[in-house]
């Protein structure tokens, strides 16, 4: 503890019954290129401290980004003032610790050894490759390298002291393609913590392809179509869908999964798991309340297996927490960790064949505006392709797709085998679905 002793002593003096600190110490570096020159170079060192404490059974919180004894005193003062106005009667917990933790390593020390020259070399190679692959690429809008190292500490007055360290890097490339009057842009992320896994030429090829493939598109007729959804689209929809497994939403009557435990809510092809212990950069072996996490299915063969709980909602429901207490503040929220859609056996080509004639939706945007998380209804700006005679056909321009999250996952006919892990920490595959409404011409 050491460094934080002063805080715990002041908290005790102020009459706080239990207190907890969640501390993130981070270092990050971002380098971006534009037209062969370093455009931005950003080197950051920071702290983020969230403190909470219980006074007369109520929880108050405060946060800051500097650590010294004045701030420790300020945190205690604010926690007390905030706790005094809380009226929520829910049980609250400053956790003593789980019996056993299954540690997963999320820190690769070799990444720290990669020289700045090596990073720059890859960044220049990426920019060069983006420019050189296809003459319709008129501009490389930017390439960026970022890396981040974070040490997360959870320490409380009940003796808990947990530390997880993680590091990762990302490359981002963005380019602009032009043909006639039409302009299209495309970008992609690469995220990992093993530097040797990044190949700038392969990554550039992928970005160029997804950009130029959009050229020459036009809107299709407004209609309902049989469809294949790209894993990126599935990722976006799945996150919002699984939001309804949040036990707090269920207990407060605003979830579409109320009363559905054990019932079939999706196609039997659909199995979605929460896998915090999966060995990758997203792993979390304790949640923000200090509870040991574990892998579990949320939906298994279409059946809803469990809601996701933190300590408070679990106590209210009389069950064990699922280790999904995430988020800062006086009240811990609930979130999934590494979401994973179980892959099927069929490759993408075969999904196209099974569609025959329909649409292939590769991207959706404006989720914060076009998807109503409460009702599950969505209407989203999209890009994609026609599927004609079982093959990927001409690109689609300026269309929207709309539907409802519950219906989409009920309508799944097949799950592809193209496992794709997104930088947002979701593993998903292409989905073949019965129908989706497209608005175009």
């Amino acid at each position: 503890m050491g460094k934080y002793d002063k805080f715990f002593a002041l908290a005790k003096e102020a009459g706080l019954e239990q207190v907890e600190l969640s501390i993130s110490e981070f270092h990050s570096l971002n380098i971006s290129l534009f037209h062969g020159e370093v455009d931005e170079y950003k080197d950051n060192n920071g702290y983020a401290i969230v403190a909470r404490g219980i006074l007369n059974g109520k929880c108050g919180s405060a946060s800051c980004d500097v650590w010294n004894k004045d701030k420790a005193a300020w945190l205690v003062k604010e926690i007390v003032a905030n706790a005094k106005v809380i009226e929520n009667d829910d049980p609250i917990f400053i956790f003593k610790g789980s019996e056993k933790y299954h540690k997963v390593n999320t820190y690769n020390k070799d990444l720290e050894k990669v020289s700045i020259d090596e990073k720059m070399k890859n960044l220049y190679a990426l920019e060069k490759a983006l420019k050189g692959i296809d003459k319709r690429i008129v501009e490389v809008a930017g390439t960026e390298y970022s890396e981040s190292t974070e040490k997360h500490t959870l320490v409380n007055s009940n003796g808990l002291n947990l530390v997880q360290k993680a590091n990762y890097f990302t490359f981002v490339g963005q380019c602009v393609a032009k043909e006639g009057e039409q302009t299209k842009s495309g970008y992609d992320f690469f995220l990992g913590n093993k530097f040797e896994e990044f190949n700038p030429e392969e990554f550039a090829k992928k970005i160029v392809k997804l950009t130029v493939d959009q050229l020459g598109g036009e809107a299709c007729e407004s209609n309902k179509y049989k469809a294949v959804l790209h894993p990126d689209v599935v990722t976006s929809l799945m996150r919002a869908y699984i939001g309804h497994a949040n036990a707090e939403e269920v207990q407060k009557n605003s979830s579409l999964f109320i009363g559905k435990i054990g019932q079939k809510i999706a196609s039997s092809k659909v199995t979605i798991e929460d896998k915090p212990l999966q060995k990758n950069v997203f792993a979390r072996w304790f949640d923000d309340e200090g509870v040991a996490t574990y892998n579990k299915p949320i939906i298994k063969n279409g059946r809803l297996e469990t809601y996701l709980y933190n300590l408070t909602t679990a106590a209210k429901a009389g069950v064990q927490t699922t280790g999904n207490g995430y988020g800062g503040g006086s009240k811990r929220g609930i979130a999934s960790s590494f979401l994973s859609l179980k892959p099927g056996k069929k490759p993408l080509d075969q999904l196209f064949e099974e569609v025959g004639n329909g649409v292939y939706i590769t991207d959706v945007s404006g989720l914060h505006a076009g998807l109503n998380p409460q009702s599950g209804n969505f209407s989203l700006q999209s890009t994609g392709f026609m599927i004609e005679n079982g093959k990927k056909g001409k690109p689609l321009d300026l269309i929207t797709v709309s539907g409802n999250l519950l219906e989409i996952f009920k309508d799944v006919l097949e799950v592809g085998n193209d496992v794709t892990v997104s930088p947002s920490g979701v593993s998903a595959e292409s989905l073949l679905i019965k129908k989706i409404a497209v608005s175009g011409k």
Binding site: F34, D39, E40, Y41, K42, D43, N44, N45, G46, G60, S61, A62, S63, C64, D65, V66, K71, E78, A81, N82, V85, I86, E87, N88, D89, A141, T183, K184, S185, S222, K252, N253, S254, L256, G329, S330, K331, S365, G366, H368, A369, N372, Q374, S375, G376, N377, F378, S379, L380, Q381, L398, I399, T400, V401, S402, G403, A437, S439, G440, K441
Partner: protein, 468 residues
């Protein structure tokens, strides 16, 4: 706060290796928020931010770093680390720092430091009482919140200038979730301003009116049919409707997109027609007390009113000094950042389409069959292609010149440069609405705005089939 003497030493260290500009951005801010859920105070939290961002420029390059170590040793270490990016001889030495004076157009008469949390809770409770007085069993969950922020900023730069600025603002918000056998709908209202808490107890803005509006929207949308899809004329309501211009035209007119040739308007020159001749549009950071106003921007340029589009012709941009170098223009007071952790760049402030000559009634009357969109969830844009989308939270079908049945789930999409040319009627009821805008320099306060206007044809996405 750091002394002028230390600031000069840090700037000169930063400039040692040939940077042509250096700038220290010091920030000390505090924020508080309280949330009442289903009638009970659920959370109350305080936040404090204190740090320094150091920015060095050389030609078109930008080097940035930040630290929470505000000691002399900590700041010099940051300057010495960042200056390693350059390898030339010193170009500039800072000998003095003169203060830039600017008007304070946004004084908050009673600081939020002096407002007890109980007073904020009482304010929100009035709104909650109003919702409860509706006694509608379909309302299943209510949220009311008040958030305030006090931000002190001091900037020192190698032009031998410095300034300090204190801003305070508050925001009151209500969200209502309503449910029936068919599902859930949400209503949200969140007015904000750089005014003391008394502003939220006026005739124009008060908790009862705001909360009631949020509840009514949720309940109305519960009975709404799914919005039809396809191309149709769309009448866009005043205030929040300005998100259309914000996304479709505002972002592409920021120097961060224009300077690098990455805006859909990059090939246009000042004076080119980019909109219908009845369209004039403004970004104005000088409106007293408004949510997006700033007296002086984050690099020391004074806030200003920029006429972006004049009678359909491109007239100006939002410009920061660095992107201005590529455009051979000076910054015009548009340089902003969320906090010291972000590199600042050109951003919007209070952006709106100017009043026209019609009335809202005339526009509705002139529309035989179309959509009337009045509430919005926000949107997004790709400034390079101009492709934008925005989602409607409240909309109606217009039939034979009259507002008819409510519809939900409408998303409008298009290309900014096309939509601006299709604006064929503009009313005289300009209003502004408060939002948060996210881009590379973080999430900042901006106002969107417009009078009621009509776009002759927009692609509407919805689940309700063809418009009949």
């Amino acid at each position: 706060m750091i002394s002028k003497k230390l600031a000069i030493e840090v700037l000169n260290t930063a400039l040692e290796t040939g940077a042509d500009y250096a700038e220290i951005f010091y920030e000390d801010s505090s924020a508080h928020s309280v949330l009442i859920e289903n009638g009970k105070v659920e959370t109350s939290s305080s936040n404090s931010l204190c740090g320094v961002g150091l920015r060095l420029l050389k030609n078109n390059q930008c080097v940035y770093g930040y630290t929470n170590d505000l000691t002399k040793k900590g700041l010099l270490a940051l300057a010495n680390s960042l200056n390693k990016s350059f390898h030339d001889k010193r170009l500039i030495t800072v000998n003095k720092l003169d203060m830039i004076k600017c008007k304070n157009r946004n004084p908050v008469t009673r600081s939020y430091d002096d407002v007890p949390v109980e007073e904020k809770i009482a304010l929100i409770r009035e709104g909650i009482d109003e919702i409860n007085s509706l006694k509608d069993p379909r309302i299943v969950r209510t949220f009311g919140s008040f958030a305030d922020n006090k931000r002190f900023v001091a900037v020192f730069n190698s032009k031998e200038k410095w300034f300090k600025r204190t801003t305070e603002f508050g925001r009151m918000a209500f969200q209502v979730i309503a449910a029936d056998q068919n599902g859930f709908e949400t209503g949200f209202e969140g007015p904000g301003a750089q005014h003391a808490i008394d502003y939220f107890r006026t005739e124009k803005v008060n908790p009862r009116k705001t909360a009631r509006k949020a509840a009514e929207t949720a309940l109305k949308m519960l009975t709404a049919a799914e919005c039809p899809s396809g191309k149709m004329p769309v009448v866009i309501g005043n205030g929040w409707g300005g998100v259309l211009f914000h996304e479709s035209c505002g972002h592409p007119l920021e120097a961060s997109a224009v300077a690098k040739g990455l805006s859909c308007f990059s090939e246009n020159k000042i004076g080119d027609y980019i909109a219908s001749p009845i369209v004039s549009a403004v970004d104005d950071s000088t409106i007293p007390g408004e949510w997006g106003s700033i007296d002086i921007d984050d690099e020391g340029n004074l806030g200003s009113k920029r006429l972006l589009i004049k009678n359909g012709k491109l007239n100006d941009y939002m410009i920061d000094d660095l992107n201005g170098r590529r455009m051979e223009r000076n910054g015009n007071g548009a340089c902003r950042r969320q906090n010291y952790r972000f590199i600042p760049t050109s951003r919007m402030s209070n952006t709106y389409i100017c009043n026209g000559k019609s009335t809202p009634e005339e526009i509705i009357k002139a529309t035989k069959l179309g959509l009337y969109a009045v509430g919005f969830n926000g949107g997004s844009v790709d400034p390079t292609t101009g492709e934008f989308n925005f989602g409607c939270s409240e909309a109606y079908i217009i039939r034979d010149g009259k507002i008819a049945e409510p519809v939900k789930g409408a998303t409008l999409i298009g290309k900014g440069f096309e939509i601006l040319k299709k604006i064929d009627m503009i009313a005289n009821d300009l209003d502004l609405a408060q939002g948060m805008c996210g881009a590379s320099s973080g999430s900042i306060r901006t106002n969107v705005g417009q009078p009621t206007l009509r776009v002759s044809e927009v692609t509407v996405g919805g689940r309700g089939g063809e418009l009949k």
